[in-house]
Amino acid sequence: MAVAAETRKRGKSRTTAAAPGPDRGRLERAYRDMLLIRRFEEKAGQLYGMGLIGGFCHLYIGQEAVVVGVTMALEDGDQVITSYRDHGHMLATGMSARGVMSELTGRAGGHSKGKGGSMHMFSKEKQFYGGHGIVGAQVSLGNGLAFSNWYRGSDRVATTYFGEGASNQGQVYESFNLAALMKLPVIFIIENNKYGMGTAVERASASHDLSRNGAAWSIPGVAVDGMDVIAVHEAAQAAVAHCRAGKGPYLMEMKTYRYRGHSMSDPARYRTREEVQRMRTEHDCIEAARARLQAMGLDEAAFRRIDDEVKAIVQDAADFAQESPEPDAAELYTDVLVEG
């Protein structure tokens, strides 16, 4: 997209016109996808509270614009890999809400038949490579996805998401070096939500501009307002075009925010309620998209239709996730090795 470079500089959407058109269509889709993730995660939080979801459960609430904006810039066959805060990424790639929610409840209907849980889901069909529980591991693995495109001579692009906390892991820098050395088609997407668990980014990283963390390897980097789905989309289009053209890796720092704790059992005492409230009221990605769509003329009935559609998908997923049986006992022993 021709305006992408300019948009990136501004870090703001150019979508302010009031007329319906392609921009409104795009924003409407983004709004719907972000709302689906938000409602899904709220429901997951509720089911967790009821004891139906166990273990670790990291919600994506607040960060929805990042994965939705990036995904809109991708094409079929482009690969996605991320950390354990992965429910939103799976929904964005088109994996079924039923499959994700029933994996959370540890049921046979889950994407991993109940054997992976919140942090470990995959879909070959949607080119989603997990869902990884070890901080930073997905960055090396993501290079492998890009390597595969390079090896096969395909123009597909790998997108590797990781948090600003992971950005201090050694293998991230090994991966920057390898990707730049081999000119791998990979977009490194740092989701900077300001806190690695309870540690503020300033207390963990001596780098004050994470978008420049690839500078030593001349990896182009851009900082993006990750609460603005259109800004994310347009910046991602430029990144994808760069990688697809064979110019090597690209780095994006998404400045975003998570409203919930690191995981469900995090009381989040390392930040003030006012800070969270300010982000929610002044910078919420869904509210911003809603306001823009209203300005573009989308009426209340249309919003209601979207809300109802999303609510129905989430309720259906929640019902399915409770009705789906637990995995058969025989599943304990399957899938350890590929037989034959």
């Binding site: 009821m50 070890i134 090896y151 609510k311």
Partner: protein
């Protein structure tokens, strides 16, 4: 339509908590995501958010109430638009189930699957282990374009130990890839590539350096098939020299056999002869699972007879009886097969018939071959270069005890590397690694 809001659990172990504070009151309108209350446990204070929109019609639990059980209704919400369905309040509080008090025992020990006898591959010719490994990779790379080799110095330098000699010339830089010295990074990259269906061979200059990459080998390569419910396999080979070489001291002299053999989701092979090396590496490359191939630097230059049939391959999981005997079974792998064979020779001179089993595969273990032999000889001595604690010898001995305890005429014995970091000094190094006379002594104590 009224919906009940339930007391949430903050963690899987929470059963009750204090309703510390209401932030909304009867009659207040709420939207999904609004914080409505704070609850406390002895560990944390958390906010409760509304999941649906509507109006709080009733607060059922007073602020400050302690000991509110999880899933107790704490408030009622009137749906805002009629579309909201009641939260699934009827679900009884599912107590998070940990392991049952008496977990069912599902050990697989009694099952002994015997693989078919090995094919007779016909004529042989002498080659070194080094050539055998190179030939195996070349043959598989010719056969399958998805197979490639990467590692430090594998391409232009032709391999730190010259295992990849000539491969760059034949297959080019796209399939024989020099990496920077960055084990964690390139191993993760190779594992990711394998998840897409490519078949990487990762050469570790020595297995000591695989420790830098162990997270990717175990957490990513070995576990992803299981965690993905069988969707995403990882057809990859990790290979390189393992164990002590000569005078390179503790950090460069370590046996990883028991480390990797411990892990479900991995297969582990440890070739001794050139035929083992060629046949097992070819099988490892074709295997759809992650396979660890533990080679040995000292064996690289040694010559063995190897079948010349271009299709020669060995099955993973099949041990080989290298020498028949009736008084004792000596089980060894990798370079320790040489030690075991020398010991058997010495024992034969004293009229003691020792049967030597070359395990060849450490996981899955060929239990049938070992058990069959011990049933014949009634004595077991294991030989390994690595440390004894939780080692392969311990595993083999326990397997024998489980399967043919009644056939044993003496307790199983282990010969192993001394339980210290390997020293540099020539005399100390020699004292730390198993020698043939150690095996002879161990056998004689059992007779």
């Amino acid at each position: 339509m009224a919906t009940e809001i339930l007391m949430p659990a903050l963690s899987p172990t929470m059963t009750e908590g204090k309703l510390a504070r209401w932030l909304k009151h009867e009659g207040d309108k709420v939207r999904a995501g609004d914080v409505i209350a704070e609850i406390e446990t002895d560990k944390a204070t958390m906010e409760v958010e509304a999941v649906d929109e509507g109006t709080i019609s009733k607060l059922l639990i007073a602020e400050g109430t302690e000991g509110v059980a999880v899933n107790t209704p704490i408030a009622e919400l009137d749906g805002g638009n009629g579309a909201a369905r009641p939260a699934p309040v009827s679900t009884p509080a599912p107590v998070p189930v940990s392991a049952p008090a008496s977990a069912p025992v599902h050990h697989h020990a009694p099952v002994i699957a015997s693989l078919p006898e090995e094919k007779d591959w016909g004529p042989t010719a002498p080659i070194t282990v080094r050539e055998a490994l190179r030939d195996a990779m070349a043959a598989e790379m010719r056969r399958d374009k998805d197979v490639f080799l990467l590692g430090e110095e594998v391409a232009q330098y032709q391999g730190a130990y010259k295992i990849s000699q000539g491969l760059l010339d034949e297959f080019g830089p796209k399939r024989v890839i020099d990496t920077p010295i960055t084990e964690h990074g390139f191993t993760g990259m190779a594992v990711g590539a394998a998840m897409t269906g490519l078949k990487p061979i990762v050469e570790f200059m020595t297995f000591n350096f695989s420790m830098q990459a162990m997270d990717q080998i175990i957490n990513s390569a070995a576990k992803t098939l299981y965690m993905s419910g069988g969707q995403m396999g990882c057809p990859i080979v990790f290979r390189g020299p393992n164990g002590a070489a000569s005078r390179v001291a503790a950090q460069h002299s370590q046996c990883y056999a028991s480390w990797y053999a411990h892990v479900p989701g991995l297969k582990v092979v440890a070739p001794w002869s050139a035929a083992d090396a060629k046949g097992l590496l070819r099988a490892a490359i074709r295997d759809p699972n992650p396979v660890i191939c533990l080679e040995n630097e000292i064996l690289y230059g040694q010559t063995f007879e190897c079948p010349t049939d271009p299709d020669f391959i060995l099955p993973i999981g099949k041990a080989k009886v290298e020498r028949a005997g009736d008084k004792v079974t000596i089980v060894a792998f990798s370079r320790m097969v040489t030690v075991a064979m020398q010991a058997a020779e010495a024992l034969a001179e004293q009229g003691i018939g020792a049967e030597v089993i070359n395990l060849r595969t450490l996981r899955p273990l060929d239990t049938a071959t070992v058990v069959e032999s011990v049933k014949k000889t009634s004595r077991l001595v294991t030989v390994e270069e690595g440390w004894p604690y939780a080692g392969i010898g311990a595993e083999v001995a326990m397997t024998v005890i489980e399967h043919c305890f009644d056939w044993l005429d003496a307790p199983p014995a282990r010969v192993h590397g001394i339980d210290v970091p390997l020293p540099y000094a020539a005399n100390l190094e020699r004292m730390a690694l198993p020698q043939p006379d150690w095996v002879v002594d161990a056998v004689k104590k059992l007779l």
